[in-house]
Amino acid sequence: MSIMEIIGGILIIIGSIFLFLGALGIYRMPDIYNRLQAGTKATTLGAMSLILGVGFLEPSWMLKSLVLIIFIAYSNPISSHALARATYRRGHYPLILSDDKENMDAYQEVVPHEKEKEEKV
């Protein structure tokens, strides 16, 4: 095995572990904002690392892998931000565990809370 193959293999393993952890976070977290936190961060680094690993294994693919990496690093935060905003404006507010419920939600000065409604989808 050459040194490139070793680096590529390690990156692929790290990437798949983080992809798995992101999905585990999606499954375990209690509300949608925390799910977005786990989902965005872990899957972004996981996909970046795995694609970079494939780029190391096949050096002639490196440039296109870099395009894919840049695109993922650019688009994932935007889509999670759009989803968080849409969910808040739709009337699903963040879960707050501490006692200070009034001060912990600063966004309600922009979008005042209505009575939370049950959704059937």
């Binding site: 965005t40 961060k41 680094l45 002639s60 931000h81 200070d100 912990m104």
Partner: protein, 170 residues
């Protein structure tokens, strides 16, 4: 939107052309003459058509000092991204889910839309924070483990290291 001077138009055109050409070379991943000629023509037409759309910056963006700060920013960002992932991994794996979520806000000194977008994206990818909305110069951040609800302190915790560098670029 105010009218653009010829200088601004030319600057934007050249910046767009350079970045689109870089993207084209990455897409085709070859340096053959015919590919480069077709790519040069296409990217020139696109950047001519989109002077009004891509409004991020002008020619001074390509100066060596700013490129140095861009590379430096990329380093800061990469370190924060890896920290964020270890942080999320720790929270996801531990059986008791150690979270204390809430929404905080802070104000930024950045002026242009593009730099606010870069800052918001970076905040989303750093430990435990997620940008919900940007209204004017106020950022609303969902924080997975709230330590302070005071805007000033939240700013120091979350965004100061990024904003210092971004103010030098834009």
């Amino acid at each position: 939107m105010q009218a653009l001077t010829l200088n601004q138009k030319l600057g934007r055109f050249i910046v767009n052309w350079v970045f689109l050409m870089l993207l084209w070379i990455m897409f085709t991943s070859t340096f053959a003459a015919q590919e480069l000629i077709v790519g040069g023509l296409l990217t020139m037409i696109i950047s001519l058509l989109s002077i009004r759309l891509f409004t991020c910056c002008d020619l001074s963006l390509l100066s060596p000092v700013k490129i140095f700060w861009m590379v430096y920013y990329f380093g800061v960002f990469l370190v924060a991204l890896i920290q964020a992932n270890l942080d999320v991994a720790r929270r996801v794996i531990s059986p008791s889910l150690p979270i204390n979520p809430g929404v905080v806000k802070f104000k930024t000194k950045l002026k242009t839309n593009y730099s606010k977008m870069v800052l918001a994206n970076s905040i989303t990818l750093t430990p435990g924070t997620l940008t919900i909305d940007v209204v004017g110069d106020t950022f609303y951040i969902h924080w997975i483990d709230v330590q302070t609800t005071d805007p000033e302190k939240a700013f120091t915790e979350i965004a100061e290291s990024f904003e210092k560098v971004l103010l030098k670029i834009f």
